[in-house]
């Protein structure tokens, strides 16, 4: 990273309006130290282009097709410097909660843009790679209160899948990842299971074990297993271990 002075900063511009991208491109044209390595107009493409080009700096719109800016960030991680560019001022707090470098409100002038670039450069110079917090965790904490997750974006390489939470059967913790089980397939996502638990609607999803969250609609029955433990049997036949605390929660829920 100390080679910043000699190598160019690689930037990507994500906005669904061509004219909006044009403003940024033009303002960057007076900065030879910055190279625009990609542009795109929707969330899926953004994830793809970021995965492929590994840029240092991303100009990111929030409302756009396929994935919104926060979902994109959740998938690409916080290894890059992000500058949100949007007409909506209501996301500013959340943007900084996910460690955005800056938040530009459309329309903006050259001076404001330069200030954002300065902040981005400072961030890029000071940043140690280990400082990256799993973006999904950040995104989960930045979720507006009283609003639960409706869909979970996951990616496999440059490809993005959207899992509506209604189609999620269960989630299993695997080291730093959670395996999301849906329609017989599993998708891995880098996120602690506790932050996923916090983002899901507690009336629909329950932590039945240190390593398992289950969609309550999928539970067919709960059976004793061994001396004092239980298993939850899902409609598709899958059996999940239920811890003692998990069984108490399950009973409290079913008792209601």
């Amino acid at each position: 990273m100390n080679s910043r002075k000699d190598t160019k900063i690689r930037a990507v511009i994500v906005d669904d309006e061509e004219l909006a991208r044009q403003v940024i491109r033009e303002l960057l044209s007076s900065h030879p130290e910055i190279e625009v390595v990609g542009e795109c107009a929707n969330g899926f493409e953004a994830v793809k282009i970021v995965t492929e080009t590994k840029p240092d700096l991303i100009f990111l719109d929030i409302q756009m097709p396929k994935l919104d800016g926060f979902e994109v960030l959740e998938l690409i991680g916080t290894g890059n410097a992000i500058i949100f560019v949007t007409a909506y001022d209501s996301y500013a707090i959340r943007a900084f909660e996910v460690h955005a470098v800056d938040y530009l409100l459309k329309p903006f002038g050259a001076e404001r843009f330069e200030a954002a670039l300065e902040r981005a450069k400072e961030r890029l110079d000071s940043k140690s790679p280990s400082a990256a917090v799993p973006a999904a965790e950040l995104a989960a904490t930045a979720r507006p209160p009283a609003q639960y997750l409706e869909r979970i974006p996951v990616r496999d390489g440059a490809q993005v899948f959207i899992i509506p939470v209604s189609k999620l059967d269960f989630a299993e913790a695997q080291d730093d990842y959670v395996a999301l089980s849906t329609e017989g397939k599993k998708h891995l996502k880098q996120q602690p299971i506790s932050s996923l638990e916090a983002a899901l609607d507690p009336s629909r999803f329950l932590r039945i074990h240190r390593s398992y969250i289950v969609n309550l609609e999928r539970v067919a029955k709960v059976e004793p297993y061994g001396k004092d433990s239980h298993v939850a049997v899902l409609r598709n036949g899958v059996q999940l271990p239920v811890s003692r605390a998990g069984y108490a929660r399950l009973r409290a829920f079913l008792g209601r």
Partner: protein, 357 residues
């Protein structure tokens, strides 16, 4: 609150009205019972004073049994019974009074003569009581209709308020911010186009502001406002949208509240076309049918679009509330999604310059 007892002046007036009744009663008593003039007046004055207050009590039973909530038979039953009881008691009082007068040897033999007037007293008592009952029912009905009128007035004021609020909320600031950002992009790349967009945006805003004061405009005028809006969006979205219009000629002249359809078209952009990578379409149909103007605004959308983190649907809610406030049952508003098609259909009375067609 008793309508008569609540004010002293009304009570005085009411009692004054009983004086001719007392005179009439005295005449009847003299004629049927053979009472002397003095005897009859001495009897009828205190009796009428007493009965005036008895009749005041009818108000409470009338209020307790509203005429709208009981059958005629039930009403008659209750009030005739009350009238009989009241006149019965009244006759007792009359006899007591006559007894006192006789005892004081003021009018010897009065009790005997009084017994001949009992049917007259009974009849008068029942009639007067029932008369006050009907008087109070009329009073209650007047009161109810005044209240209903006040409520309707309030509702009208509220509807007007809602409408003004709605109009103020119409121009979405984000539409402005995004348009200004587009202009900012064009200033260096295509100055002529930037100027064109400024003019279009100005045109749209001026129309919007001018409409706030009108209560209705012809559909044609609303359409030209929509065209001004679309001209701006065309520059922003480029080839990403297609607009289709299917408007019957006679519908163009019909009245609609201003800015009724523009929010629906704007909604088609923010929640539809803006989320479609390949772009989408908006269709606007309007026609007249059986005295109603029916309008459909349809657009394509991505059912798997990211959930909006912004409050939206405000435009739709506004339109619905305004239709309800203005037309009540005569208008309808329906929202439907079918696959990747979102449609809002609404009907309102087909009127032209305030007259039904």
């Amino acid at each position: 609150m008793h309508p008569i007892l609540s004010r002293l002046s009304r009570l005085a007036l009411y009692l004054l009205a009983w004086i001719p009744l007392a005179a009439l009663l005295a005449y009847l008593m003299a004629a049927t019972g053979g009472l002397s003039r003095r005897e009859a007046i001495s009897m009828s004055l205190p009796l009428c004073l007493l009965y005036a207050f008895v009749c005041l009590s009818a108000w409470y039973s009338c209020r307790a049994i509203p005429s709208s909530r009981a059958t005629i038979g039930k009403l008659l039953e209750v009030h005739v019974a009350a009238a009989l009881v009241a006149s019965g008691l009244w006759i007792l009082c009359a006899e007591l009074l006559a007894y006192v007068f006789t005892g004081m040897s003021l009018y010897p033999g009065l009790t005997g003569r009084l017994s001949r007037t009992i049917p007259i007293l009974l009849g008068t008592g029942v009639i007067l009581y029932l008369f006050s009952v009907s008087f109070y029912y009329v009073l209650l009905a007047v009161e109810a209709s005044q209240e209903a009128e006040a409520r309707a007035m309030e509702a009208r004021v509220f509807a007007r308020d809602a409408e003004l609020r709605a109009l103020k909320a119409q121009v979405n600031p984000h539409f402005l911010f995004n348009s200004l950002n587009s202009i900012s992009a064009l200033t260096t790349s295509d100055a002529a186009k930037a100027r064109e967009m400024c003019v279009l945006l100005g045109d749209f805003l001026r129309r919007t502001l001018g409409l706030g004061e009108k209560s209705t405009i012809p559909l044609e005028e609303e359409m030209s406002l929509i065209h001004a809006f679309l001209a701006v969006e065309k520059i922003r979205f480029g080839a990403r949208f297609r607009m289709e219009e299917n408007i019957a000629k006679e519908a163009l002249a019909m009245d609609v509240p201003p800015l009724l359809l523009q929010p629906l078209v704007e909604n088609a952009f923010t929640n539809g076309i803006a989320n479609l990578v390949e772009g989408g379409w908006v269709r606007l149909d309007a026609r007249c049918q059986n005295g109603a103007l029916s309008i459909i605004v349809e657009n394509s959308f991505d059912p798997e679009a990211p959930p909006r983190r912004q409050k939206n649907g405000m435009g739709l809610l506004n339109v619905r509330q305004r239709l309800e406030a203005r037309y009540g049952d005569r208008a309808s508003f329906n929202v439907r999604t079918e696959g990747d098609r979102f449609s809002v259909s609404l009907t309102l009375p087909a009127e032209r310059e305030g007259r039904a067609t």
